[in-house]
């Protein structure tokens, strides 16, 4: 009897420790975080999102829409709806625009979007959910003292991508290839700039073939900007990099860059490179 009780207690203890070790999420969640639509021109689509407060305290959220611009290195800037030529934030109607969530409460957000009659290709925008309930200052100022308090707030960006069926035009081009300074532990970095000249979002991958004077490929390196594949929005450019390394023998080389953007053809660009001793020209 005593032995059974001991076994039960150990079991309960292990059970409790297991659940205490499981990470408990806080903050709030929005599900889903991306909508990929394929609506025809003139159509209105409606979708819903669930917003859940995972905290033990109430939270206030504001919901709005933004267009966004992707920079050369993937950085993103939120702008007013209607700012971007292919932005669709201005087409999106969201309801409600403000949420007050009690602890562990879930509410539904609805949105609708009407595609213009002349729509073609890819359009994009964000539904921006931002926290507006600010933490209160927790430290009383001490006379003659200096204090710095940093508050942190959580925002969630829900992507809305609209691809008008049957109208996509995939087209891209390499606009520049250059060798950058040695900034990555001595490795030579080749920067390639790719431009999306079509009307559709492109998911790209590529590589650089290093070809010596004899026409032999001595090395092939992948292109990435921290990871691959990389995406480029219509009308945008993206800088991606290939790390050549240090083990090339002195001589003349041709750097042949090839990018697959999902179109009918690949695109290529080339650059000549000379290695003198251990200095790259």
């Amino acid at each position: 009897m005593m032995k059974n009780q001991a076994v039960i207690k150990i079991f309960v203890l292990l059970f409790t420790l297991f659940f205490l070790s499981v990470p408990v999420m806080a903050g709030y969640t929005v599900v889903p975080m991306q909508f990929t639509l394929n609506a025809n021109p003139g159509k209105t689509v409606t979708r819903t999102m669930k917003v859940e407060n995972m905290e033990k305290t109430p939270i206030s959220l504001r919901i709005s829409t933004t267009d966004f611009i992707k920079g050369l290195h993937g950085e993103e800037k939120q702008v007013e709806p209607g700012t971007v030529k292919r932005g669709c934030a201005g087409w999106i109607m969201v309801s409600p625009k403000r949420l007050e969530l009690a602890p562990h409460e879930t509410q539904t957000v609805n949105f609708s979007m009407t595609i213009p009659m002349n729509g073609e290709g890819t359009y994009w925008g964000n539904i921006f959910v931002s926290q507006i309930s600010k933490p209160t200052r927790s430290k009383i100022i001490k006379k003659g003292k200096t204090s710095f308090q940093i508050f942190t707030m959580q925002d969630m960006l829900i992507r809305v991508l609209e691809n008008v069926p049957g109208t996509e035009q995939k087209q891209g081009v390499i606009t520049d290839i250059s060798i950058k300074d040695h900034k990555t532990g001595g490795k030579t970095v080749v920067e390639v700039i790719f431009e999306n000249q079509g009307n559709s979002l492109l998911k790209c991958s590529g590589q650089i073939q290093i070809i010596n004077d004899s026409g032999e490929t001595v090395k092939t390196v992948p292109l990435d900007y921290g990871h691959a594949p990389f995406t480029v929005y219509p009308g945008g450019k993206r800088a991606v990099h290939g790390y050549i390394g240090e083990n090339l023998l002195p001589g003349n080389y041709l750097l042949l860059t090839v990018i697959d953007y999902g179109g009918e053809n690949l695109v290529a660009g080339e650059m000549e490179m000379e290695i003198r001793g251990r200095k790259i020209e």
């Binding site: 990470p23 993937g74 003292k145 959580q154």
Partner: protein
């Protein structure tokens, strides 16, 4: 179906009794069973039963603290020109799609005390594993991103505040940082 007759003797006479047709009863029972049997049996024979689930794009972010206060500024800090806080914040990210996390300041500066404005450029941040600090901006800067998924991935940040003997009027300065999680593409 032929009917079976049973003969019973009553008072010496044989009477013909029509017995319930057991075969007919069995047929009725079988027909009833087949009629009310779950459709899945006939479905197994003629077509497959399909099922599925739609997995939405799900992401979550947890900030380990909503407010961080730098340690009290000391004379040594003022001599050094800065006060540093290691592991000042931790963000835990989960995502079932490629993701990115950005940081930006909500404020143009860190407030004013007696006409002294603490500029935004005095606040610096970095990932704990990085070597150098960056100034925060009112535009989004990438803290971290991945082409893969994240399962409670912890991102630890260090903070640094530029201070000086003639730099700040004593008082409380504050800054609001906004962390934004989104899909990568």
């Amino acid at each position: 179906m032929p009917v079976r007759w049973r003969w019973r003797s009553e008072g010496g006479k044989l009477n013909k009794i029509q017995k319930k047709n057991s075969c007919f009863a069995i047929m009725v029972i079988i027909s009833a069973i087949l009629f009310f049997w779950p459709l899945s049996i006939s479905a197994d024979e003629t077509s497959g039963l399909s099922t599925g689930v739609t997995v939405p794009v799900i992401q979550s972010m947890d900030l380990n603290r909503r407010s961080f206060i730098f340690p009290d500024v000391s004379g040594a800090n003022l001599d050094e020109g800065f006060i540093e806080a290691k592991d000042a914040a931790m963000i835990t990210v989960s995502s079932n799609v490629p993701w990115q996390l950005t940081i930006q300041s909500e404020d143009q500066d860190m407030g004013k005390v007696d006409d002294n404005v603490k500029p935004l450029s005095d606040f610096l941040w970095k990932k704990s594993e990085d070597a150098s600090y960056s100034a925060v901006s009112t535009k989004g800067q990438i803290v971290d991103s991945s082409a893969g998924y994240a399962d409670h991935q912890n991102i630890e940040l260090d903070y640094k505040m530029v201070v000086g003997w003639t730099r700040d009027v004593p008082g409380t300065y504050s800054l609001t940082l906004r962390f934004t999680l989104s899909t990568l593409h």
